[in-house]
């Protein structure tokens, strides 16, 4: 469903990688690895369509993502280095905004449910600036519980999480892949899957 052909990306004047090609079908997890500075984040941002590419194509369901535009973004969810939550809003408000932007049809109860799933019961109405780093990340990740997008692009999602949260997130990802979704992931840990296949991509060699 996601095809990348001869992708080349630059950062400033440096060429990070070139002639990169891979194909992902339903129920696949792509684990992107590489040293710091090898272009992992750049690759993920390129897959989101945030970066204009030098050369190469990225196709979703057979069509180039630049021509798909909004249709591609509807099918996709991106989680970057920054949490993407406002510190002055509380968990529920943040999640409400995130799900509205994602276009997921949710009701109020779903928001409470999602936060509870992420282990934040009792913390939902506190402004996120008083939460710890790990808790903030849990709020940010709660989107995944409610997301209907088939493609997840996650950049270092496990960082700052404690062991419980790591298990939670691992479970969410595994469920998603088992249900036929795709995940593109950068992380330094292994993600155990219940079903579906894992592809590995090593950048920088």
């Amino acid at each position: 469903m996601l095809d990348v052909v001869n992708l080349e990306c630059r950062r400033g004047d440096r060429r990070l990688f070139s002639d990169l090609s891979f194909s992902l079908s339903r129920g696949t997890l792509l684990h992107v690895r590489g040293r710091n500075g090898s272009g992992k984040t750049t690759l993920l941002r390129a897959l989101c369509g945030l970066l204009a590419r030098e050369t190469g194509e990225i196709r979703w369901r057979g069509e180039d993502i630049s021509s798909l535009g909004d249709d591609y973004r509807r099918d996709m969810l991106y989680f970057g280095h920054l949490n993407g939550i406002k510190s002055d809003l509380n968990g529920i408000e943040n999640l409400r905004v995130a799900t509205t932007l994602d276009g997921d049809p949710v009701v109020e109860d779903d928001l409470w449910y999602a936060l509870a799933q992420m282990g934040l019961a009792g913390f939902e109405d506190l402004p996120t600036k008083v939460l710890s780093q790990g808790q903030k990340k849990r709020v940010a990740l709660a989107r995944l519980v409610l997301s209907g997008a088939p493609l997840w692009i996650l950049d270092e999602p496990f960082s700052a999480l404690d062991l419980d949260a790591v298990d939670l997130l691992g479970g969410l990802i595994a469920e998603h892949v088992a249900a036929g979704g795709l995940v593109v992931l950068t992380t330094h840990q292994e993600v155990p899957l219940t079903s579906g296949q894992i592809q590995r991509l090593h950048l920088g060699t």
Partner: protein
């Protein structure tokens, strides 16, 4: 014969072409500008205008009008290169836009300066918020804004594209800005500046102005091509052909 329109859009090939063209433009510029100025200073009547003639000092228009025309023309050129760059995503277009800006700014400044002198001698004041002079001032701000935005952004790619967008936004707003300055009271529009009266000018003066303009235009070609060569070398410093060039030059 199939024309490869994009052959010279590679910095490497354009570098050579530009180098060969510069001497031609430089010579043409020198000849035309000197000819225009000579013509303007020696072959034209001593007075300009009918009812309230201006004296010898009017000759400053040969510089003033030429530089003013070119300052506006070069902004169009800048915007055109920016548009081409954004549409075709060619690096060289952005480099050409970047090379054009300083020359445009300089011409705008000279137009303002010579205009100020002319104002002093004919209206009795160094500066008057006359619509055309004010419009030139705003044009100068637009050029400076373009150059400032470019230099404030470290990532050359982002800098190119952001400045290009700014140039296009400027292009759309420039007519509106100029018009609002020229016509601040829509109930009655009035301007102090000499109404453009090209058809009522002594042909000698007109030709001298055009010659100087062509000369300065040629000068801008030469200078912009020279500048873009410098930009190309700097941007493409990592590529093989530049390294070869440097080693060849150092050996010579």
């Amino acid at each position: 014969m199939k024309i490869n329109w994009f052959h010279y859009s590679s910095p490497a090939t354009f570098y050579g072409l530009a180098g060969r063209l510069i001497p031609w433009f430089a010579w043409i510029a020198l000849i035309l500008t000197l000819a225009g100025l000579y013509w303007g200073f020696f072959e034209t009547p001593d007075r300009l205008g009918g009812s309230n003639p201006q004296k010898e000092y009017y000759r400053i228009i040969f510089l003033h009008v030429s530089t003013a025309w070119l300052s506006m023309w070069l902004y169009l050129v800048l915007a055109a290169w920016s548009a081409i760059g954004l549409v075709f995503n060619t690096r060289l277009s952005y480099m050409m836009a970047r090379a054009t800006a300083p020359t445009g700014a300089i011409f705008t400044f000279i137009a303002l300066w010579t205009g100020s002198f002319w104002g002093r001698t004919s209206w009795g004041t160094w500066w008057d918020w006359d619509p055309r002079l004010t419009s030139e001032l705003i044009l100068l701000f637009l050029y400076i804004g373009y150059m400032a935005l470019h230099s404030a952004i470290d990532d050359p790619r982002r800098g190119d594209r952001a400045a290009a967008l700014l140039a296009l936004v400027g292009l759309v707003t420039v007519p509106i800005i100029f018009w609002s300055i020229n016509c601040p009271d829509p109930n009655q529009c009035a301007a102090l500046h000499q109404r453009s009266s090209l058809d009522r000018i002594d042909p000698n003066i007109l030709w001298a102005m055009l010659t100087t303009t062509l000369g300065l235009w040629s000068y801008s070609f030469a200078v912009i091509l020279a500048r873009v060569r410098g930009i190309i070398l700097k941007r493409e410093a990592d590529s093989q052909w530049v390294r070869d060039l440097v080693t060849a030059e150092s050996r010579a």
